[in-house]
Symmetry: C2
Subunit: 408 residues, 2 copies
């Protein structure tokens, strides 16, 4: 599975320390490798937590554990295992998550429900409890590490480490938000779950944090797709340590609530886009904007229908301005659309309008746009004011090689 | 686009003449080629007709024409154009369909609404009326041709001509049903629409024919997918000439109604499977059966979720018994499923049961099964009695080559 770095990779940014957050990594050796594969993040007392989890009906025991712990709203540690997703492992998988939480709680002197756990890697193999416990013990006594080390340790098929940051002014203080993420397909349960972790020193009430994270998810992680496949383990968690000393955010009209909400949405979008940039086999990042729909929800569904169409994605891989495939994807979405009102653009050039091709449109700027790494497709349905933007990548021989020319 | 014949191709079968049906082909030269690309089927007076059409919200004018003509229930001719789908061409596209129907009606001395039209090929280019009319005139005076000629003339990216037949005893008489079909993706609007045409000498009331065709569609054409993409032009039409002389079938309890229904369903399934066998890049035919679902509808949705998963399809291409990807696809379908009741088999071998891998299952028969051309995946949800079978093909480098390494 050694693949070269995605051509769309970005360098790891400089991320500041977040007061109240300590990062450590260790070698649990979940697979026969010598890399760090266990990430251990400790969080000072008073840290609030929120999360969004896979909608899969067959979630991993880690997802079930987080779903149960989230309503309590407090966190003291995050443990992330790479190399084994522990999904579809029955009672033994559940026992492994419970053992990790218990051991960590013992180290920190807290409740097991304050420990959040996520795992990514092969499925169907129960996470070995002895390796997890030894890895945890090693991490607990290790020196703190840098963001990039943690971001690299949660990787599986990812080809580059992914992180982002932003700031906001809340209650007169500058708060920092930083996040790391992994994901490369959207997402294979066996190899490429999306896991994202966000940390801030802002003081944020857990319920409010949950609300703004869910909102941010709606315009970020829910708007990306590599292959339309949804993992059994997808997890995004946000932790707020409160060390910035602001009055805790709890309501929409609190000072700085809007700024924090905007900053979190910005960070989530940055992190989500990094996953698309590392999409399996991706050569191009595709931004699809649908406007003029009957509602935002309808626009989103149509945009995802386009983003998930293998024929649209292969056309972009072939640098082909094949707007007919976009029409097809609009038509199959099952949402209100009228063929004779439809307009389509590639980059800034309208190629179809009013139900037919724009006669004699200038093909040169379209061809130039399609040769680039960042492709924009715009669809105007001409029906209403609904609007959505989603992101995907092209579908290439690389995707097939990664997923077919490989035996589990 | 010259690709070699699908490894899953079947030889064209021997199909009998259907009394009341005459097949002719001609060169309209819709593209710069020298092959026949216009198929002209005349039907004796008294022929009833039924059809199922694409659910796309952006259908071709041909689809709109057929949708309007079908309720009248009578047919005298079918015209099929290959090389130009006439989709997304505004008023000029509508005018082309009207011209074809008018010219044909003039030749036959019937109403334009008795003429059914279907087109497949590039989109966005209005079908040239002069070429269509010249082609029609040539076809009208041509000698009748064989089924295989007609089946080849409706092809676009298809790699082999597709036809099938069956018989039934109705009212003491043996009636024959024969069909031809084209399709290779499911389905690109620009290249590979699915068009299917079924002919029988049985006497069948149009409303009854419509009902049994819709039923048959539910277990055949609606159960296949190559890439999850739905064409703007998908069309299946069934014509019944009545020449067999049986008492016209009009009700479920008419003599032979059950036999006719079963024969039609059988023929539709045969034709649908031929399309999957010619799926773009297909190396393997995959049959997915979901049972134990809460309802048949729920089983169908879960089966289609598996069939449309790029990760499942690439795993089969790689001959990899990756049941984790099947779990993922069940989980993302959004239908009732319980992880700990799920059982999965490849061929006859159970690989997962009760929410985890079957310990020490014999991998040899699984590996042997996956090396074959016809793959069976079975999923038992353990919830109820809902059941569905769908068919797809694997996702290979060939699919990418056909769809990305090509410029329209």
């Amino acid at each position: 599975m050694s693949t070269s770095t995605s051509p769309l990779a970005l360098p790891f940014p400089s991320l500041p320390a977040i007061p109240g957050v300590s990062l450590r990594v260790a070698r649990a050796r979940y697979k026969n490798w010598d890399r760090c594969d266990l990430t251990f993040v400790t969080l000072d007392e008073g840290t609030s937590v929120a999360g969004v989890l896979t909608t899969s009906k067959c979630p991993s025991p880690e997802v079930e554990w987080c779903r149960k712990a989230l309503p309590l709203g407090t966190a003291r540690a995050l443990v992330v295992n790479a190399g084994n997703s522990n999904a579809f492992t029955g009672n033994r998988g559940r026992a492994a998550v419970e053992a990790i939480a218990a051991r960590t709680a013992q180290h920190l002197g807290c409740e097991p429900s304050d420990i959040f756990v996520a795992s990514t890697g092969v499925i169907g193999v129960p996470l070995p409890i002895d390796k997890a416990e030894a890895g945890l013990d090693a991490a607990y006594t290790a020196e703190p590490c840098a963001w990039e080390d943690a971001a690299a340790t949660i990787m599986t098929t990812d080809t580059f480490a992914k992180g982002a940051m932003t700031t906001a002014v809340v209650d007169g203080r500058t708060v920092t938000l930083a996040g790391i993420i992994k994901g490369s397909g959207m997402i294979a349960p066996d190899m490429a779950t999306m896991l994202g972790f966000i940390f801030t020193d802002a003081a944020v009430d857990a319920m409010f944090l949950q609300r703004v994270l869910s909102e941010a998810n709606g315009t970020s992680f829910s708007c990306i797709t590599v292959d339309g496949d949804t993992s059994t383990s997808d997890t995004v968690l946000a932790f707020a340590t409160g060390k910035a000393g602001n009055m805790p955010l709890a309501n929409d009209d609190d000072a700085g609530a809007d700024a924090f909400r905007a900053a979190l949405a910005d960070l989530c979008r940055k992190l989500a886009l990094l996953v698309v940039r590392d999409g399996e086999g991706a050569q191009k990042l595709i931004e699809i904007t649908v406007e003029g729909a009957e509602s935002d929800r309808s626009a989103h569904r149509i945009a995802m229908s386009i983003a998930n169409s293998p024929l649209v994605k292969t056309a972009i891989a072939g640098e082909d301005a094949n707007w007919g495939r976009v029409v097809m994807a609009v038509g199959k979405a099952g949402e209100p659309a009228e063929r004779d009102k439809l307009a389509i653009r590639f980059g800034a050039t309208q190629v179809a309008q009013g139900g037919l091709a724009v006669e004699g449109y200038d093909e040169a700027p379209v061809a130039a746009h399609l040769k680039g790494q960042e492709i924009e497709i715009g669809v105007n349905l001409g029906l209403g004011e609904g609007r959505a933007t989603v992101w995907t990548c092209d579908l290439t021989h690389g995707y097939i090689s990664i997923n077919a020319d490989y035996r589990s």
